[in-house]
């Protein structure tokens, strides 16, 4: 760096300060002007214009259909193959089933889509502990009937940890919104 006298250094410092601030403020001002007048536009992929934030509880981001959030099992399609419980790295799925006996239990009728190949097992319990789930998506990939899916629903906070255990056989009111 060039050696300056104290007098010229003083004015040089002022010049540097003004230059530095004007660069930063210029960029800030440009970013501000880009969004000015476009506040009503929804945020997303329109590059360089429109707001970049969304006011969350009122306005929600459109999540893709395959986004990995809460798990949901369509139990009528489940064949109790146990593959999801085996591959789960955190063991959050527990399945109980028994050999099927249709006369004894009329509820356990074979669904229409499996008529050609009747089910051999009756699903007694299908629990998912969402508090343990690590959202890796391995269970949904191995599911042969594609009845176990990740849903885009992410707002399912509970006050109690036990409430995060979803029982898909006994409670029908835990459908994703």
């Amino acid at each position: 760096m060039k050696k300056r006298s104290a007098f010229s250094q003083y004015f040089f410092n002022i010049y540097i300060a003004i230059k530095t601030v004007s660069i930063g403020m210029g960029i800030t001002l440009r970013a501000f002007l880009k969004t000015w007048g476009l506040r009503k536009k929804s945020a997303g992929y329109d590059y360089g214009s429109g707001p970049v934030t969304i006011s969350y509880p009122e306005e929600k981001d459109d999540l893709p259909l395959h986004s990995r959030n809460r798990l949901f099992n369509h139990v009528e399609g489940c064949i109790s193959c146990n593959q999801c419980a085996v591959i789960c790295p955190v063991d959050c799925i527990s399945i109980e089933s028994r050999k099927k006996n249709e006369d004894e239990n009329p509820d356990a009728k074979t669904p229409e889509r499996f008529k050609s190949k009747p089910l051999k097992l009756q699903l007694l319990r299908f629990d998912i502990d969402e508090g343990l789930c690590c959202f890796c998506g391995l269970c949904t990939e191995v599911c042969p009937t594609e009845c176990l899916v990740h849903t885009p629903e992410f707002e399912y906070s509970k006050y109690d940890r036990d409430q995060l255990k979803y029982d898909y056989i006994n409670f029908k009111d835990n459908n994703p919104v």
């Binding site: 790295p89 890796c136 391995l138």
Partner: protein, 383 residues
């Protein structure tokens, strides 16, 4: 340190005493749960000892109890800022043991997501470094652009941070045309944004004064501590695993390795390490454009011939160039469904071990600048 040890008598005959203070584990500028024990004489640091282990999650031991496919999601959680790069090393290790050929399309998709993730990671490093030095604006602007990358990843694989996308033998999902269009749009958009971000910090007099000639790590010191990645290139050493030991077909891509030069201070100072990251983002954009052309050209599937139950046998060490340096997986497999032993070589661990040598003799505020410039992620240091 006992009280007696640090006692000294200064020129006026007064007794002075070293003060030991703890920075962290809950400190915003330690980038995670790092505790640094600082021995200070006034505002001058005499010694800085990093204490690790606050985020230890037994990854290596836990991996021995899991199927190979189930280890991949846990690899994500090591360096949660660059998950794609973390998964890749483990998948490459399995592929090398099983001698699986990965399709060209899968390789091109891998390179695209790796470089997108590198941009996201460097943007975080850029933003938080500005925050450490005292500028809040760069942080917000970096996160604005990082958000675009994360949204693309969410559309690609369904998750924003912990992707579980790179799999042994290929990738989990194929990309569609609308996503490729978005990546292309992003490249066009981000080039201009990057110029702006670069100007915002690099030209700032306060930032330059805080970083230039601060925390100089010479080439010899960097090599002796086993530095890698941008930290090593920031000391002026030409080393990039993408060039030296190419993987995923990196040998077919044209890009420059960014090496630090003496621009505003000495080679190896904090400013150099910051600048190397900014330059690397430009190079990543160039690689992404080439990868997009390759994805359009190849159409040979996304999964290599790999069986459902993975049972490799043998021993292998695979290292990849992550945003923070060389991440190595040493995998010992005994032919069963689970790894026999898995050891991870972390670049951040090497970087943070150097802290005592660099920080000794600097001011307290410079320690923050040095830690920020090393760009450590504690999830990877502790694993």
């Amino acid at each position: 340190m006992s009280l007696q040890e640090g006692r000294d008598i200064d020129a006026d005959g007064l007794t002075t005493q070293d003060l030991t203070i703890n920075m962290g584990p809950q400190h915003p500028s330690t980038h995670g749960v790092l505790r640094v024990e600082l021995v200070s004489d006034g505002e001058i640091i005499k010694a800085a000892y990093p204490h690790l282990g606050y985020l230890h999650r037994c990854f290596e031991k836990h991996a021995e109890n899991l199927d190979y496919i189930a280890v991949v999601p846990f690899c994500d959680r090591m360096d949660y800022v660059a998950s794609m790069n973390m998964e890749l090393g483990f998948c490459l290790a399995i592929e090398r043991l099983l001698e699986v050929e990965v399709p060209d399309r899968a390789n091109a998709i891998r390179v695209m997501v790796l470089e997108l993730n590198r941009i996201a990671s460097h943007l975080l490093a850029y933003g938080t470094y500005g925050l450490d030095i005292g500028g809040f604006t760069p942080f917000l602007y970096a996160f604005r652009d990082r958000e675009k990358v994360l949204s693309m990843f969410e559309e690609l694989c369904g998750a924003r941070l912990l992707y579980n996308y790179v799999r042994p033998g290929g990738v989990a999902r194929d990309v569609n045309d609308s996503l490729l269009k978005k990546v292309e749009d992003f490249c066009d958009y981000f080039k201009g944004q990057l110029d702006e971000l670069d100007r915002l910090l690099s030209g700032n007099a306060i930032f330059v004064n805080r970083t230039a000639n601060v925390g100089v790590i010479s080439q010899d010191l960097a090599l002796s501590y086993g530095f890698s990645g941008p930290n090593l290139r920031g000391s002026g050493f030409n080393w990039d695993l993408r060039k030296e030991h190419p993987y995923c077909g990196y040998e077919k891509y044209h890009f420059d390795v960014c090496i630090a030069e003496a621009e505003l201070g000495q080679v190896g100072d904090c400013w150099n390490r910051y600048k190397v990251r900014v330059k690397e983002m430009y190079q990543s954009l160039i690689i992404i454009r080439q990868a997009l052309q390759k994805i359009a050209k190849f159409d040979d599937g996304i999964k290599g011939g790999i069986s459902k139950t993975i049972k490799p046998k043998g021993e292998v060490y695979v290292s990849t160039e992550c945003p923070r340096g060389e991440l190595g997986f040493h995998l010992v497999a005994d032919g069963s469904k689970k790894p026999y032993r898995l050891k991870v070589n972390s670049p951040c661990f090497n970087a943070i071990s150097c802290l005592d040598e660099v920080a000794a003799g600097t001011m307290l505020a410079d320690v923050v600048a040095i830690i920020g410039s090393l760009d450590i992620v504690l999830g990877e240091v502790d694993r």
